[in-house]
Symmetry: C2
Subunit: 214 residues, 2 copies
């Protein structure tokens, strides 16, 4: 039987650079799966359906919600966001690790359903830097950008409830830290039970060998 996969929850405000971080991790660890959220908001320029998000209608979202098809869902700036359950569960059962890129509320819900999930919060190095990153993003109006900044502050105040916090100052360092969290998790004793059994299983043959030498 395969060891079930590990869920990594990754949160962080807009402007924390978590998308870039996740992309860099997946280039180095292509075996890890990234869950694609379903959303009811309009695609931003450059966002592809099925790659960044599944863009669906509000009616479709509510129908899926009724059917219990989401592992978690949330609303943000008037739109619905949800993590489809079936794909995540299939990946985990096949032994694959899965990344859920979800917000603070979603992280709380998933942690209740999947207590073994490892949660990681990505932060900018300072609020000033975050403000500049968001101001540089010219894809939305001033009011939305302001809401996003206040929302970012609210999210960051929850960072302490995560298992790990990564400060995304220099991308290269942040990627290495994210890789290390994933790598270290694989070395947790509870994830090594079968490997240890494998090492100890030939103990009898070694005892036999040494008694032959006496």
């Amino acid at each position: 039987m395969n060891k079930p996969g590990q869920v990594f929850i990754i949160s962080g405000p807009s402007g924390s650079g978590k998308d870039t971080l996740i992309k860099a991790l997946m280039e180095k660890r292509p075996e890890i799966k990234l869950s694609v959220s379903s959303v009811t908001r309009a695609p931003r320029p450059g966002e592809l359906n099925g790659s960044h998000y599944n863009f669906i209608t509000k009616d479709e979202f509510l129908r899926m919600l009724d059917n219990g098809e989401f592992l978690e869902y949330n609303t943000y700036l008037g739109n619905y966001y949800g993590t489809p359950r079936a794909q995540v569960e299939a990946w985990l059962q096949s032994g694959a690790d899965v990344i859920l890129e979800i917000d603070v509320n979603g992280a709380g819900h998933v942690k209740k359903k999947l207590p073994d999930a490892v949660s990681i919060f990505v932060m900018p190095p300072s609020m000033r830097e975050l403000g500049e990153r968001l101001a540089g993003r010219r894809t939305e109006d001033e009011e939305t950008a302001q809401k996003r900044l206040l929302e970012a502050l609210r999210e960051m105040e929850c960072a302490g409830s995560y298992d790990y916090i990564i400060i995304n100052d220099r991308l290269q360092n942040a990627v290495r830290q994210l890789e290390c969290v994933v790598e270290a998790q694989g070395c947790r004793a509870e994830n090594m039970t079968e490997t240890v059994k494998g090492v100890l299983k030939d103990a009898q043959s070694v005892n036999w060998q040494t008694s032959q030498n006496v």
Copy 2:
């Protein structure tokens, strides 16, 4: 005030290669301190006093033990081994991370005294490989080597009580895993409290700035 340092307990049987692993880690992270144990056994060829161990007499060991100068101590093959407390505590208070290379019993004692210590068990990839590594070590007689192999088996059966298990098959992989455990520990939310405060402390200036822009 400095954040106190982190204790990493590293155990593993003779032949697991933990000494080499620790040496490789400390070359990459020279800021980490390695506690030098006090022992009453005779030095093996090539072992330097004060570098590998503090070689002391049994009388001296027992006097230190009476004075409560050991964080943990143990006997192994008739000799005493102990971790001097004062140096470790001084390092931790200065904010330095400290490695304790101690056996399974010592690890249990330290975990009781220092519950935040992170424990790592280093294993060979198989018992057969371990037997070969020990047979290749020609510095001791057959009887001692046999005791060491049985002791190794007894130690490895405790691996599951550690936080992390590293299989030392290819040294390079094992070193990367050890580095990752240390790096990931630095990202644990409880070790990032001050950093997060630092990020959020300029939140007011950003609010002021955005209200100016409205």
